[in-house]
Symmetry: C2
Subunit: 253 residues, 2 copies
Amino acid sequence: MTSKRIYRAALLVIGDEILSGRTHDKNIAQIASWLQVQGIRLTEVRVVADDMDAIAEAVNALRTKYDYLFTTGGIGPTHDDITVDAVAQALGVPVVLHPEAHAILADYYKDKEGGLTEARLRMARAPEGSGLIPNAMSGAPGIRHGNIYMMAGVPSITAQMLAALTGTLEGGAPLLSETVGGWIKESEVADLLRQTEKAHPDCQIGSYPFFREGRTGANFVVRSTEADKLAACMDALCAGLAARGFAFTRGGI
Amino acid sequence: MTSKRIYRAALLVIGDEILSGRTHDKNIAQIASWLQVQGIRLTEVRVVADDMDAIAEAVNALRTKYDYLFTTGGIGPTHDDITVDAVAQALGVPVVLHPEAHAILADYYKDKEGGLTEARLRMARAPEGSGLIPNAMSGAPGIRHGNIYMMAGVPSITAQMLAALTGTLEGGAPLLSETVGGWIKESEVADLLRQTEKAHPDCQIGSYPFFREGRTGANFVVRSTEADKLAACMDALCAGLAARGFAFTRGGI
């Protein structure tokens, strides 16, 4: 039996480079997909600049509103990495040198050029009371404080940290989904979508139009936490598409 | 002479498909880059689900805090397109059928199969008091109400709407940037970055590490609204890198 409680998470993406358009964020989709598998719904994302007050304000708004708050970015060794300080400010706790993180970094850098410099030691700083999130890739760990998970900005490092967290967070029933798509204008099936969703409680239908190869198409995604209801809703939707003479592909196009 | 006032914008991305990880958002980077050219800084982004209250709450938080609010998604013909209703709720105004949008859609669909159906007519609904944002691609216009700009979720349509808005928004001096990069561990130059930024007021230096081809590198981005200060800061940074024996490439790697 799976829990009926819905667990919800927020993601706070920290970094001027996303807001300037210089870097295309990859962490939203990565963390969203990972959370789905953990049975946790990503419900809100915010992106803010490398600014103490902006980060602290968002941290307090999101950590109190959702079961989990993930942050990405701002935990490296340079002057613009201020996530730890901003989270500590938000929580009203001091920043301390985390002994275990210190040991991990000392070991990681012992054979590397320059050794454990003052800048690298910054990555062992954490809000008082924190635990660590292992990082198999580059030494410096992520940081956990209560329901806040501070992760790297570099997507490949975040992926390692997510792998380390897999299965450790309490979640509910995963949101299942199935897709059907075709060279269909969504405006031609708007009524069908609305009626089908209404006839199938506990299911949501999303409509995602696109333009490709000069043609209009759409994918329709049915979502539910219950596999049998999901299947019934998808069958009804496909039957409706067929009755209206549309060609479609289960799995989407 | 350029204005010293800094104009700031927020972006609200609306859509379950982003929060589920199904769709990788492209509008954040696209709108961020466009705003840079308009002399407007994207200062905050939020992503929320297709949920009336979540959208309305974010709209009111962001429209009052920033000079401009852009939204993407939820202005199509289907039941899950509720941006217009949510913005109207946030503003406390009714939703009306916009006569000009109605005329545009009637013309666009007059030769198309099915004609202007009830579902398609949904795309002529707008919060009372709205203006339109032209959409050369697919008929249905974007909607403007005060400082709120409601745009499409499909990135290619949003691009058309941005093109129509180019040069029409009041902005300040654009934020200029220059990049230098190399196979440099950011932790080895953290002090240099901090000192250089401190010595050059009105400039910010961002450090963006990456892992490629099994190697560690970083790009350093200097930003300023003043070209001469930007150049001086970049020269100082490059001189510092050279003095420390690092190879680097102006423009970034």
